[in-house]
């Protein structure tokens, strides 16, 4: 035990984090870098809103604006929202299911570093000749046509970070399938674990089409292939399909874990069991399943024909049913409960009307003929910010307050939390509600400016002023985080008082090996059951105290990801006039990656044991 209590210097801490394969530390890495990218994406959003605050504005130029919206969308989806969710999954899921770590700790670290280097690569485009500018959807004709290297940064950066995401997805799946504590049947898993499971399954099946789409684009742009060049027999619609076969499940990859977080919050702060647990699970699975049947609703105006449009319209509407089941179950969880309006709960409560509003506009868009009017207008922008910000970002903010004590053994300030909430919430509705009407009044999306004669001035100004409030909210949140990190008010285990699942039962600060002894799960909401039966410890155990086997830290994941980062530069630049020699980067980079893989597989790395004598509850003898 003493070995972990040692105080470390900065260098040692840094090294620890660069090499860590502990899910709790990787969670922190995800939250830090995801948070960083969120601020970057948020600043890009502010630039968008400044530019659009008044007609005929020339705050940014036309080309730059397109780069900003592209990077805003791409950064927010791939580099902010998903990694932040991964952060919470890493921090919470192994604890929720009573596991010592994830199934593949080494791959967990590799997944993080791939995401990180992919994100860095993508953002370096700002400094190396311009960012991608074809929208986050990067439709093929424009992205093939786009000069410079922006789109190359997009395709290669997403390829690298996408590989990381896929790895993370498989890792969570295996963790949940194999590492559940004894007694934790599938139908006793907390909902956040369930939604992580389904979202990971979606990742498993949705990312390969994106991988292929990106490869086709890379080959077209960098190696002379003709997939999207119609003069050579290519077809741009292939990209649209591949992108949306990925893209639609992607939005559920984002929102399902968000639902999971809220499904944890409602019971805790209503002091009441989640209403309709089994139907919640069923709805989650059903949403995941239907999520693969509807992608063409993004392509209603592409000209797929009436039959395709009709089928996809009806299929899309069907998703409203399981989602509605969830909404009503949450309402009924609160009904008859004992509701405490702590910060996480405020977010959860605010989420319901906001998400429903965003969801129902989604159903309106699903009516294909109506979507002919709405598509690519600001109505769409309003819809998806209502579901994404109103669903996912609110869940991230809620989750941050909720799980902060699990990660830091401290609480975030409730006062500041409420300030953040109100600023963000009011700002959010101010920004996006009015955008529905902008869309109806004929304003297309992705326009860098609009004339004063179009009648959109006032609404845009209102929208922009709302964004300022959101930024203010985020800044207060940052202050709150810093102050909490500096404070010394430790709160210990189960600080909300009504924790129900295993992650609240574990002692604080969480030991690096998580559970000394594997817990035994005796029902849904296992911690709650133990508390009700007066079990002070909060857990019963499935095994006697024994040695704990732990894996070793490793720097190899970082090096492997770095190799791909180097290779990407080679792939990108080698076609430029007079830069053929950069192909060497491609080779060196791949060698670094393959080499470190070889090292990894040639060297047996069997980890080490924490001896039971060193565990805090060791009382001598053989227990």
């Amino acid at each position: 035990m003493s070995s972990i209590a040692q105080k470390r210097g900065f260098g040692a801490t840094l090294w620890e984090y660069l090499t860590t394969i502990d899910h709790k530390k990787i969670a922190i890495l995800y939250l830090l870098s995801g948070g960083l990218f969120f601020v970057v994406g948020g600043i890009e959003a502010m630039l968008i809103r400044i530019q659009l605050a008044q007609p005929d504005n020339d705050f940014v130029s036309a080309g730059l604006f397109n780069q900003i919206i592209t990077m805003h969308g791409t950064t927010m989806i791939f580099l902010a929202a998903m990694p932040l969710l991964f952060g919470f999954m890493n921090a919470v899921v192994p604890l929720q299911i009573g596991a010592r770590d994830v199934a593949f700790p080494f791959l967990n670290s590799l997944g993080f570093w791939l995401f990180f280097f992919g994100g860095v690569f993508l953002n370096l485009s700002w400094f190396l000749g311009g960012a991608p500018d074809a929208g986050w959807t990067s439709y093929a004709s424009l992205s093939i046509y786009s000069p410079g290297h922006g789109i190359d940064f997009y395709a290669l950066g997403l390829q690298i970070s996408g590989a990381g995401t896929l790895i993370a997805g498989i890792n969570f799946l295996v963790t949940i399938i194999n590492m559940r504590a004894p007694g934790m049947t599938y139908m006793r898993m907390p909902l956040f674990t369930w939604t992580t499971f389904v979202a990971s399954a979606l990742i498993l099946f949705a990312f390969p089409p994106l991988t292929i789409g990106l490869f086709l684009m890379i080959f077209d742009r960098m190696f002379g292939a003709n997939f999207f060049d119609h003069t050579m027999g290519g077809n741009t619609i292939i990209w649209e399909h591949l992108f949306w076969i990925f893209g639609h499940p992607e939005v559920y990859i984002l929102v399902l874990p968000a639902f999971g977080i809220f499904s944890e919050i409602f019971p805790i702060f209503s002091r009441k069991r989640l209403f309709g647990y089994s139907s919640m699970v069923f709805a989650t699975v059903l949403i995941g399943f239907l999520g693969f049947m509807v992608w063409a609703h993004h392509m209603f105006t592409t000209g797929l024909g009436a039959t395709a449009n009709a089928i996809f319209a009806v299929a899309t509407m069907a998703i409203a049913v399981p989602t509605g089941v969830k909404i009503f179950n949450w309402l009924l969880t609160m009904w008859g409960g004992n509701i405490r309006f702590a910060t996480p709960m405020i977010y959860a409560v605010a989420f319901i009307p906001t998400f429903v509003a965003g969801g129902v506009t989604g159903v309106m868009q699903a009516a294909a003929p109506l979507d002919y009017q709405l598509h690519d207008s600001y109505f769409i922008v309003a819809h998806f910010h209502y579901v994404i910000v109103g669903g996912v970002v609110l869940a991230l903010l809620a989750g941050l307050h909720l799980y902060w004590p699990i990660m830091t053994n401290k609480l975030l300030s409730e006062t500041m939390g409420k300030w953040t909430f109100w600023l963000f919430f009011i700002g959010f509705h101010l920004t996006f509600f009015i955008q529905h009407f902008l869309g109806l009044l004929g304003m297309p999306r992705r326009v860098f400016t609009y004339g004063a004669d179009q009648g959109w001035d006032t609404f845009n100004l209102i929208s922009s002023s709302g964004a300022v409030l959101m930024a203010a909210g985020v800044i207060i949140l940052l202050v709150n985080i810093v102050m909490s990190l500096m404070s010394k008010d430790y709160v210990g285990r189960d600080p909300w008082g009504d924790g129900r699942t295993l992650e609240w039962a574990i002692p604080q600060p969480v030991p690096f090996y998580n559970f000394e002894k594997t817990p035994l799960v005796r029902g849904l909401d296992t911690f709650w059951i133990e508390k009700q039966e007066g079990n002070e410890e909060g857990m019963v155990y499935a095994e006697p105290l024994g040695d704990i086997h732990m894996p070793n830290n490793s720097i190899i994941p970082l090096i492997m990801a770095f190799g791909l980062f180097v290779a990407a530069f080679g792939a990108m630049y080698h076609q430029d006039e007079g830069k053929g020699w950069t192909l060497i980067f491609l080779i060196i980079g791949l060698l670094i990656t393959l080499g470190s893989m070889a090292v990894r597989s040639l060297k047996d790395d069997l980890g080490y044991h924490v001896h039971k004598e060193d565990l805090p509850s060791y009382k001598g003898g053989n227990e």
């Binding site: 399938i177 077809n235 292939i238 399909h241 693969f292 063409a296 040695d547």
Partner: protein, 110 residues
């Protein structure tokens, strides 16, 4: 986590029994292989014989599907117990795969 490895030494009868079982199974695998070769031959012969492609195409696709099922269930042991998860995910993948191919041959037009 070595402590959950339950190795126990088999008795001679147990040992012989499992050897025999493995052997029988291996014979089954050889049969499977023979069937697969046979299916392949049929497919190639049909195409070679030059029947109408409207007739042949569905048949060879079906033969391919049968072969794949044989690979999965026998060579890759998916028929054994403990493969429930594997089955679930392979079939989900196959479903997504099917829908993807279906759309690409129907609604990417010229």
């Amino acid at each position: 986590m070595a402590h959950d490895v339950h190795t126990h030494v088999k008795t001679q009868t147990q040992y012989e029994y499992s050897r025999r079982k493995a052997k029988n199974e291996m014979q089954g695998q050889v049969t499977t292989f023979a069937i697969m070769i046979f299916l392949t031959l049929i497919a190639f012969t049909m195409v070679h014989a030059g029947f109408s492609s409207l007739l042949v195409t569905p048949i060879i696709l079906l033969l391919a599907a049968v072969q794949v099922v044989l690979q999965l269930y026998y060579f890759m042991h998916m028929s054994h117990k403990g493969h429930g998860t594997a089955q679930f995910f392979i079939f989900s993948g196959a479903l997504v795969a099917f829908i993807t191919v279906l759309t690409f041959v129907t609604i990417i037009w010229w």
